[in-house]
């Protein structure tokens, strides 16, 4: 391994080393602040090593991992997301009973899995990354041990995740049996060398899609989502909704582009059905919810559907376009979703999780800044201008219109209309009049700072996205 490869792998190595450091730290002294501190420093170092790595052109570090602009961008996204979640975790868990020191450790290992996933160019690293991520998540979801809801959610996620991994492995096996290759570019070579569609590869890819569909909570593989979102602690929910899904989606996109799976049009038909069902199903079911976490769960199902629309457009438009659209949308989705769950986490107390809609009654007049933040996040989810979510939706519209996916676009429009209803309902509840003046909020400085940064980014990218668009455009060149 030469120095270039070492630099390229530096973020992954840093996170792994930090995980070990946190573990050793706990062995020496149990202190929650210390654990969080080490983890935060580790993530920041990993982020700065990304800066160094980005000066090199694409590096194939070992057979398994490819570090190019695309993976660096997603690594940065995942690490920043992880850092924000860590901050929320700190405020959320600092007052709670029990031994919370392992929480940062688990976040780090989950991040490690995510980093491997976005860099992987081989079935082995694909699977290893996914499993590191999932196994950390089981424990994270069930972390509040003495409550039944999180445990139930953890078991549910464990079982379904196990099933989906089985599907995934079966799919990989089928593809391997046909191509004799585990490397993405090897599979791509096989695909281009054949003129007709191979049934074995087709069914293998379908099985992989089923497996990833579970992780991305696409209809009809979404059944675990609301329960897990509701049961898991709010910051962990934010992590599942963003980091875990973002990493999986980035991998899916890379797999499809490098293996030329877009040539398999039957796959796109299946995807279109899934996307339509996710958009309509997610939005319709969200209408019925009175629990904010469940509502956001269904809305995230719908958002994965929107994202899939841009993904499907790749059958007709250039892959650079798709990468650009998906990346922008995912980034906006990260900011918004982490922000929304961040608000839920700030409002939660050790006694109650602030997930019932009644907790938000009159929030505008009790805690105006928090309510304004939440409103912006919800408007961004609904795709209203001034927020990054609007530019994201604009990207989806543009790529889908370019790909002439009129049916799916109609679904997006109908879904947005439905979505508006339940997002606005939360805003209405927040603006209801209640007696009593503003209360002095508890001092959650870390969360407040993170929410402020997220809100600023949201508005900045919503009003002046030019700079970010340029960055993402240069990322998309990597996938030409």
């Amino acid at each position: 391994m030469n120095s270039n490869q070492l630099i390229a792998l530096a973020p992954i190595i840093t996170i792994a080393v930090t995980a070990v450091a946190v573990m050793l730290g706990i062995a020496v002294r149990r202190n929650f602040i210390l654990s969080c501190g080490i983890a935060a420093v580790g993530i920041v170092i990993a982020l700065s090593t990304l800066g160094i790595a980005s000066r090199e052109s694409a590096v194939r570090a070992t057979l398994l991992i490819l570090v190019d602009a695309y993976s660096l961008f997603y690594m940065a996204l995942l690490l920043s997301g992880g850092l924000a979640v860590l901050g929320f975790c700190y405020d959320y868990f600092k007052e709670r009973e029990g031994e919370n020191e392992e929480l940062p450790l688990l976040l780090l290992t989950a991040l490690l899995g995510g980093l491997v996933l976005v860099g992987s160019s081989h079935f082995a690293s694909f699977f290893i990354g996914l499993e590191i991520l999932s196994i950390s998540l089981f424990v994270l979801i069930g972390y509040p041990l003495n409550q039944s809801r999180p445990l139930e959610a953890a078991i549910k996620y464990l079982v379904l995740s196990g099933v989906s991994s089985a599907f995934l492995l079966m799919g990989m096996a089928l593809i391997y049996s046909q191509c004799g290759e585990l490397h993405f570019s090897g599979i791509g070579g096989y695909m281009t060398s054949r003129d007709n569609i191979s049934a074995m590869v087709l069914s293998g890819t379908l099985l992989i899609m089923v497996g990833l569909g579970f992780k991305l909570s696409l209809v009809p593989f979404h059944l675990w989502t609301p329960d897990v979102y509701e049961g898991a602690p709010a910051p962990v929910t934010a992590f599942i909704a963003t980091v875990s899904k973002g990493a999986v989606f980035a991998l899916l996109l890379r797999y499809f582009i490098t293996t030329y799976s877009y040539d398999y049009t039957p796959l796109l038909t299946v995807f279109s059905v899934i996307a339509g069902l996710s958009i309509l199903g997610g939005n319709l079911l969200a209408l019925l919810q009175t629990n904010v976490k469940r509502l956001l769960a269904y809305s995230s199902i719908a958002h994965m559907g929107y994202l899939l629309v841009a993904f499907i457009a790749g059958g007709r438009i250039s892959s650079m376009w798709v990468v650009e659209s998906v990346s922008f949308y995912l980034l906006a989705y990260f900011i918004t979703t982490i922000g929304a769950f961040g608000v839920v986490s700030v409002l939660s107390t050790p006694q109650t999780e602030a997930d019932d809609i009644s907790c938000y009654r009159g929030l505008f007049w009790r805690r105006p800044w928090l309510a304004a933040t939440f409103t912006l996040m919800l408007l961004s989810l609904a795709g209203i201008p001034l927020t990054a979510g609007f530019i994201g939706k604009f990207y989806i519209f543009t790529s889908a219109a370019d790909g002439r996916l009129w049916g799916l676009l109609l679904a997006v429009i109908v879904g947005s209309g439905l979505g508006l209803y339940y997002y606005l309902r939360i805003i209405v509840v927040m603006s209801m009049n209640v007696d009593g003046a503003a209360i002095k909020p508890p001092q959650d400085w870390v969360s407040t700072a993170i929410l402020a940064v997220l809100t600023m980014l949201l508005v900045w990218f919503g009003i002046y996205p030019g700079l970010l668009v340029n960055v993402i455009q240069s990322v998309s060149y990597a996938m030409e």
Binding site: W365, L379, A382, I384, P385, L386, F390, F394, F397, T398, A401, D402, L409, V412, I413, V414, S416, G417, L420, Y421, L424, R425, I427, V428, S431, N433, Y464, P465, G466, V469, N470, Q473
Partner: protein, 494 residues
């Protein structure tokens, strides 16, 4: 430089109003007045320039260009011509009215109220100025969000449902427009290789007839939901009735005009052929709106609901006029936009004033108000006859020109639509009859029109009379624009 300032002043004023609430609960309304005064002074400048526009020069007399998102050829491009100038003037005038009618009505959270009011006006001014389609869409959405808050926080008893209905109707229809905009830009890209959202670039895009039809429909639906046109009007009676008076004034007076403006500015110039073919259908829908809404107005017992339906009826005239696409009818549409803005806002202000005094909007509970409120009643009568189209007042001028212009295009439709000249007096007079005549119902002594109300309603009376007696001044400002647009679309059709 004056164009971004027109938007910026309102936005900054909005934020100032919001923060000024910290040191005094009544400060925001004064901040709002000052902001609107500055805005009105800024408008004097373009009028000075507008005088020198003649037939030879371009109708656009102010322009501002700044880069925004170069990746897609999106720019911060504003431009002003006579039409936008007139509508912005109306916006500022009615902005004053909205502030005046909220003066005592809004008691809670005034800072946030006036922020939303001014932000809404800023969005509307932006809509009238934007000549980049992305920017236009941006402002189009921007004006909806504060209006949603105005209705849902300060509205009346069913405010939540009305506000959500309003938001969803406008949002879904505007997504159709966004889709049409994007498709238009992509088609333009395919033929020229340049991404551009600029209005002037896109004007000359050559489109297949059936594609042009679908794109036109996307725009048309968005604008006619806002206008509104039967059958997309169902959000309007609810939103108008439930909104606070200031919100109703802005909604009826200004926001509906953005729909009409959109039809005039975008639908027909961008898709002249498709619009020409679609004109019979659009005009039929316009005529249906005129008659149906007039009949619905007659059937209402809620004063604000009645006024809301009269708005739909008047907006039908605008649709009729715009799709006739001759100078006379277009001029009529422009006059109707202004005149309806004045008369409908005045009626909503009166309804608000009555509600503040009587705590009801039901006309059944009013009755015999004339002896108790002689001056307010007289003002109501004035605006009621203005709205039914009494010659000498603004509305008459507009409707007359529309009917005359449209007659040469489609005789049958116009004859049918003209029946509204019978229906309008019926609904206007039934309103006066129910609320102001008849046996007086027992009321505690009511205070008649105060000084603030005199000033604002009196101003609207003057404006209405002036518009009716010398519409030429307004026609002079708008004629270069309309001529130019007609010329452009003629060139296209050839």
């Amino acid at each position: 430089m004056i164009l971004p300032m027109l938007i910026g002043v309102l936005l900054l004023g909005g934020f100032a109003a919001w923060f000024s609430a910290r040191w005094s609960p009544i400060a925001p309304r004064w901040v709002a007045i000052v902001t609107l005064t500055v805005e009105a002074l800024l408008l004097v400048l373009p009028y000075a320039v507008a005088e020198h526009v003649d037939d030879l020069s371009s109708a656009w007399f102010a322009d501002f260009y700044g880069p925004w998102i170069p990746r897609f050829g999106i720019s911060f491009h504003l431009a002003m011509d006579g039409l936008s100038l007139l509508l912005i003037t109306l916006t500022v005038l009615l902005g004053f009215m909205a502030v005046s009618s909220s003066w005592t009505e809004i008691k809670d959270r005034q800072g946030f109220f006036f922020f939303n009011l001014l932000a809404c006006l800023a969005g509307t001014v932006g809509v009238f100025l934007a000549v980049d389609l992305f920017l236009f869409f941006f402002f189009w959405e921007l004006m909806i969000t504060p209006m949603y808050f105005l209705i849902s926080i300060w509205g009346h008893e069913n405010r939540t449902d009305a506000a959500i209905k309003f938001f969803i109707f406008t949002q879904v229809s505007s997504l159709l427009m966004l889709l049409a905009i994007i498709t238009l830009v992509l088609l333009h890209y395919n033929s020229t290789g340049i991404y551009s959202f600029d209005y002037f670039e896109l004007l000359n895009t050559v489109l297949e007839p059936h594609v042009a039809f679908w794109l036109m429909l996307g725009f048309f639906i968005a604008f006619t939901v806002k206008l509104p046109m039967v059958p997309f009007h169902t959000w309007l009676p609810d939103a108008h009735t439930q909104a606070p008076t200031g919100g109703s004034v802005i909604l009826a007076g200004v926001m509906l005009k953005t729909g009409a403006y959109g039809l005039l500015r975008f639908v027909i110039p961008l898709f002249p052929d498709a619009a020409h073919q679609f004109a019979p259908i659009a005009m039929t829908l316009g005529a249906v709106s005129v008659l149906y809404a007039a009949m619905m107005a007659f059937a209402q017992s809620d004063l604000k609901r009645l006024i809301a339906y009269t708005s739909v009826s008047h907006m039908g005239f605008i649709l009729l006029g715009v799709f006739s696409w001759n100078l006379l009818a277009l001029q009529g549409s422009v006059i109707t936009m202004l005149a309806h803005g004045i008369s409908a806002s005045a009626l909503f202000m009166i309804a608000g004033a009555l509600q503040e005094r009587l705590h009801t909007r039901e006309m059944g509970n009013m009755g015999g108000l004339w002896p108790a409120l002689p001056r307010l009643s007289a003002l109501t009568l004035f605006f009621a006859v203005a709205s039914l189209g009494l010659p000498g007042l603004g509305n008459f001028m507009g409707e007359f020109l529309v009917l005359q212009g449209a007659f040469s295009v489609n005789m049958l439709l116009v004859s049918v639509a003209a029946l509204v000249l019978i229906l309008a007096p019926v609904y206007a007079l039934i309103m006066i009859q129910k609320a102001f005549y008849g046996p007086p119902s027992q009321h505690s002594p009511l205070s008649d029109v105060g000084r603030r109300e005199w000033a604002s309603l009196g101003l609207l009376v003057l404006a209405s009379v002036w518009l009716g007696l010398s519409p030429q001044a307004v026609l002079d400002v708008s004629v270069p624009v309309l001529k130019q647009e007609m010329q452009n679309s003629m060139v296209m059709e050839r």
